[in-house]
């Protein structure tokens, strides 16, 4: 035993101690002094799953659910577990061939890895669900997962309710921190969009432990940190779904729109637009295909003509003209104009439908017979009002009145992307006439609601509310109340409970005169065919010339005269005289609303009108030309989420191309218009409110 080596035992022991100390130091460093590893471990192993609440339900005024939720089913596949299955049986049930089967499996693996479930067939039909359910044991790795889907029990009011769409990256950027994720659905149009924050509810978060292949191993800490989902809140609207369905039925095979408003509250009773679509088309498995079809349709079923169709109001404007003139003191109710079939004072005559003497002997009869000469003259007198010394100033005063009536401005209805029509500014005429050289004669057709005057059916109906109410109105809206209304909600819908009195200075006598004139319209005037037993109707027809061919048929009315309950505007494009198609439609809708039921004769009328086909030949020709296979092919190429939707989200002005369909009275001069857009409805909502807790 070499004794001199004894000391080396100590050295070895010291060496051991040093090395162990080094390991301990590194452990200290890793476990106590670095916090990054805890974070990385959480990112690794904790999977946050967002639990989607049911979206809120939308009710009509009678408490019927017009938009609710239903359960549909997705067929999911976990590729790694899908072994030894009966491929043929599965393919025959789902209705695909084996090549498609393999394609879908590969897609699933690429998208979501082979260990995570992916959607194999989304939103399977009831029949497929039933057959699959019986045979699931044959398909290991496949399972059926519930998915809540929007349901429309009445298949109606598609453009009002709107649809849901998958959010895109822009949406996520705009709504950062509000709990949206890639692949979520959000309201894209209509009420679904305006009240998105109310309807979406509060998302819950569940935490799971996952393994290195992303498989869920169980809940994290027994769910201590989980938050549960809170269902979206319901909306109670003023819409009457029976009235809505009737209006839609009456507009079948026509292009046009019906807007019915309760003048006492501003609540919209019905807002129909035609052509429209069955809202269920954009919920189920065929959503993608249908969307392509709809967006390519030249008749534009996705366009809500009630708020985006801009029409020359034609003669429906005349009562407003009368009120302005009366208020300005330019005419008295007794004022008459000797019309003999046309207005000759401005060179090219403005023709009048009546020729006999005395159809414009005073204001009341002039309204009843819709005398063009009379109102051309009245308009000129308004513009040339000696009070203002200058036709430009007179015109501006008139424009001011028109804006007070809600023409040419946004009404701020609670569905997005409303258009504001057009009451032209003097600058436009200055440009056209080479400076302020124009006079009342140059723009005389404004006096009969033509020229550049454009209004949406909503605006026209709202103006009727003002006349019916003798000076005040509530901003037209759908939603009367929100379930468990919060302060932010009240702020938002508060503006619909605010009484606007822009024209209180117009005397009741003036209103009475105009109302009497409009009453005469329905008694012996241009719309004498419109009758509802025991109800005094005030109405006005309109026949608007437009560059698209036959005149648009317009009709406005409110009833009963003594205590107005409904104000309505009907527009049927290219259908001729207002009295021919628009008037009976309005009459039937009013009758249904006021009487609750229709007489047998009225029911026959409903069938007759809904059967009438007034689609312009050009559009029919387009349908005829569309080879259905080609359409399907094209529609497949369209991504429903990237496709343009009729929505405006930011308070900006952006150039918009001329749209002949929406602005029928404009000539396409190739330039662009600045369209002021309004912000998303509940934007000002408290953002923290609907965020899921983390």
């Amino acid at each position: 035993m070499p004794v001199y080596n004894q000391s080396r035992s100590r050295i070895i022991q010291i060496f051991f101690i040093l090395v162990f100390l080094m390991m301990l130091l590194q452990l200290l460093n890793l476990q106590i002094f670095s916090s990054e590893y805890k974070l990385q471990a959480e990112n690794n192993a904790i999977y946050r799953k967002v639990v989607y609440p049911d979206r809120g339900i939308i009710y009509d005024r009678n408490g019927k659910a017009v938009l609710e939720n239903t359960i549909m089913y997705d067929l999911m596949v976990t590729p790694s577990e899908a072994k030894g299955l009966d491929t043929n049986a599965l393919c025959s049930i789902v209705g695909i061939d084996t090549a498609e089967f393999h394609k879908r499996m590969v897609t699933a693996i690429i998208k979501n890895s082979r260990y995570k479930p992916s959607i194999f067939e989304p939103l399977i039909s009831d029949e497929v669900f039933a057959r699959l359910n019986e045979n699931m044991y044959k398909f290991p790795g496949f399972n059926i997962v519930e998915r809540p889907v929007r349901a429309y029990p009445f298949h109606s009011a598609a453009n009002v309710l709107g649809y849901l769409g998958e959010v895109d990256s822009n949406f996520l950027k705009r709504h950062a921190g509000e709990g949206y994720d890639q692949g979520d659905y959000a309201g894209m149009t209509g009420l679904e969009r305006s009240y998105e924050k109310v309807l979406m509810g509060q998302r819950g978060v569940k935490r799971y432990i996952r393994d290195n292949k992303n498989r869920i191993q169980g809940s994290y800490e027994n769910g201590t940190y989980d938050t549960s989902a809170i269902a979206g809140r319901n909306l109670y609207t003023s819409m009457d779904i029976d009235l809505q369905m009737l209006a839609e039925k009456l507009l079948q095979n026509k292009i046009g729109s019906v807007v019915a408003i309760n003048p006492k509250t501003g609540g919209i009773l019905a807002m129909a637009t035609s052509p429209s679509y069955d809202p269920t088309m954009l919920t189920g498995s065929q959503r993608r295909k249908n969307f392509g079809k709809l967006i390519l349709d030249t008749a534009r079923p996705l366009l809500n003509r009630a708020i985006k169709g801009q029409y020359p109001p034609g003669s429906t404007y005349k009562p407003l003209s009368a009120l302005i003139a009366l208020d300005e003191g330019i005419i008295t109710p007794a004022y008459g104009y000797p019309c003999a079939g046309a207005y000759y004072s401005c060179g090219r005559p403005v023709k009048c439908t009546e020729h006999w003497q005395g159809h414009s002997k005073d204001l009341r009869t002039a309204i009843a017979y819709s005398c063009n000469s009379y109102f051309s003259n009245v308009f000129r007198m308004i513009v040339d009002n000696p009070k203002y010394h200058n036709p430009r100033l007179g015109y501006l005063e008139w424009k001011h009145y028109m804006n007070a009536f809600g023409y040419g401005i946004d009404l701020n209805i609670d569905i997005p992307s409303e258009d504001d029509g057009n009451i032209p500014d003097t600058s436009g005429y200055n440009k056209d006439f080479g400076g302020p050289r124009w006079n009342s004669c140059n723009i005389v057709t404004l006096g009969i609601g033509q020229d550049r005057m454009l209004a949406t059916p909503l605006q026209i109906a709202n103006a009727m509310c003002i006349i019916a109410n003798k000076g005040y109105y509530y901003t037209p809206h759908f939603v009367d109340s929100i379930e468990n209304e919060t302060i932010a909600d009240t702020q938002f819908i508060g503006k619909y409970r605010f009484k606007h009195v822009p024209l209180e200075h117009i005397s009741d006598t003036s209103f009475n005169t105009v109302q009497m004139g409009m009453h005469d319209v329905a008694v012996f005037g241009t719309a004498k065919a419109v009758k509802i037993d025991g109800v005094n109707i005030c109405a006005k027809t309109g026949t608007a010339q437009n560059p698209h061919g036959k005149d648009h048929s317009l009709f406005v009315a409110f009833a009963p005269m003594e205590n107005p309950k409904i104000a309505i505007c009907v527009v049927v494009e290219n259908a001729g005289f207002g009295a021919t198609w628009a008037a009976p439609i309005a009459s039937l809708v009013m009758e249904k609303y006021l009487k609750d039921t229709l007489t047998t004769q009225s029911q026959a009328n409903v069938e007759r009108i809904s059967g009438a086909d007034l689609i312009p030949p050009a559009i029919k020709h387009w349908y005829f030309k569309q080879d259905s296979i080609k359409l399907v092919k094209q529609s497949q190429k369209i991504n429903p989420d990237a496709a343009p939707v009729f929505q405006n989200n930011l308070e900006t002005t952006k150039p918009v191309q001329f749209d002949p369909e929406a602005e029928p009275n404009r000539k396409d001069n190739g330039d662009t218009t600045q369209i002021k857009t309004k912000p998303d409805a509940i934007q000002q909502d408290n953002k923290k409110k609907i965020q899921p807790k983390h």
Binding site: M22, K38, Q40, D211
Partner: protein, 451 residues
């Protein structure tokens, strides 16, 4: 006889070692259980069904206890007597792998035993090497200051290592380096270890420091040495000192400029270089590697860059344990199976995650206690054979523990060697059981002089 037999068996047995051994084996089973535990499929009976790794480990532990008992019952004189024979047997077993070996995870170092069990002779050969080295160094006329005995001892230790390298088990081969600790204790000049460590330090420095900077640093050091020793060299004309400094400088620069790049680029596989680089916190560029270039040419595609996923995940698991740990069976990284090979080489991570710094500290303390106990046992032996053998056991254990733990905490390149008595695996457990129980047996007869 029959009455005194049990007494004579337990007489002299170092119970502390046995207890520490048992604690470690139980900890190992616990750790493997934590790795495999799945609340969905777990039933108490799965401890005994033999389908899970922990139940297999329990079986291995049972077998090992039986073998351990046999060893304690055996005669101490057997071991010095058969040491050389056992060594030859061990070498033959290792060589036989080339004939009947089985390929597991890319290393052809296993002998299939049937029934799903395999034996790794390189593991068992540690025992025979320890015995043979003890036998050789404890020879009566041994003079370990002679170069010839040093070379012979080195050869005994390194022969199995060489065979291991041929079997692509570089990690196991490294373990045989631990015998140099034993030889140091027995009188191997310290300078050899110093040279070895200096070489290691130089290699690490090469990886860390830019090559020209390092060359300048080395030159400055050499210049300083010459300056300090200028009296010796220039006045007393001891030119040999000067020549030695210059030649050491030359060798160092040569290693740093040519040998290290050559080893990393031409000898090592890309993944090996990458592991060593990542242990010092650097990134290795595989496009310099000859092997990966060859594969690239052969397959026509760029070799995918091996990453340090293992070490990263291992550090995350241990680091996320914190001071007290996440608790028994609550380790998210363990349950998520984020750490590859967690039941074998990375078993320490499950413990570090579940029981945190406190648990890891206690665990390392148990190992440390065992090591010191073995060193203490070694020093109380009367016979050189027992002492040398005990040091071998301590060195092997030490090497395994340090390399394994350092690998999981990112201080050492990833080398696949198990944590003694804790990692899953029968061969490894059997080896350490035999090593320790032979030591206990020899220690029980510490008054005897064995040769």
């Amino acid at each position: 006889m029959s009455r005194s037999y049990p007494k004579s068996v337990s007489k002299g047995v170092d119970w502390l070692t046995v207890v520490l051994y048992l604690v470690l084996v139980c900890t190992g089973i616990l750790c493997i259980f934590m790795v495999e535990y799945n609340p969905a499929t777990f039933t108490p009976s799965s401890f005994f069904e033999g389908t899970t790794n922990y139940s297999k480990q329990i079986l291995f532990a049972g077998i090992c206890l039986v073998i351990g008992t046999f060893i304690i019952l055996s005669d101490s004189k057997l071991y010095p007597a058969f040491a050389n024979l056992i060594y030859v047997f061990g070498i033959i077993l290792m060589l036989s792998v080339f004939v009947i070996g089985k390929d597991i995870n890319g290393s052809k170092s296993w002998i299939p035993l049937g029934g799903g069990f395999n034996l790794q002779p390189a593991e068992l050969c540690k025992i025979s090497t320890a015995l043979a080295l003890a036998k050789y160094l404890s020879k009566l006329n041994m003079d370990f200051t002679r170069l010839q005995s040093q070379v012979t001892a080195g050869a005994i230790a390194l022969l199995p290592a060489a065979i291991s390298v041929l079997q692509h088990e570089a990690g196991l081969a490294l373990v045989y380096l631990s015998f140099f600790i034993v030889m140091y204790r027995e009188g191997l000049p310290g300078i050899i270890l110093v040279v070895g460590f200096s070489f290691g330090a130089l290699v690490v420095a090469t990886l860390l420091v830019e090559k020209n900077t390092l060359a300048i640093i080395l030159t400055v050091i050499a210049g300083l040495l010459v300056f300090i020793l200028r009296y010796q060299i220039f006045v007393r004309k001891r030119w040999n000192i000067f020549i030695m400094i210059v030649s050491i400088w030359f060798v160092c620069v040569g290693i740093q400029r040519f040998a290290v790049p050559y080893i990393f680029n031409d000898v090592f596989e890309c993944y090996q270089s990458q592991r060593i680089y990542s242990a010092v916190g650097k990134d290795y560029d595989c496009s310099q590697n000859k092997h990966s270039l060859e594969t690239e040419e052969a397959t026509g595609k760029t070799a995918s860059k091996p990453d340090d996923y293992n070490v990263r995940q291992s550090k995350i698991a241990i680091g996320s344990g914190g001071f007290l740990g996440k608790g028994f069976l609550k380790g998210t990284q363990t349950r998520g199976k984020y750490v590859p090979e967690q039941h074998t080489d990375f078993i320490f991570t499950s413990l570090g995650e579940a029981f945190g710094f406190v648990g890891s500290f206690i665990f390392l303390a148990i190992y440390f206690l065992l090591l010191l106990r073995i060193v203490f046992i070694a020093e109380r032996q009367r016979s050189a054979f027992s002492r040398i053998y005990a040091y071998s056991v301590a060195s092997i254990l030490f090497f395994h523990i340090v390399v394994n733990v350092c690998m999981t905490v990112g201080l050492f390149p990833v080398i696949g060697i198990p944590l003694p008595l804790v990692s899953y695996g029968g061969s490894s457990m059997l080896t350490f059981t035999i090593l320790i129980f032979i030591l206990v047996r020899l220690d029980a007869d510490r008054q005897m002089v064995l040769r």
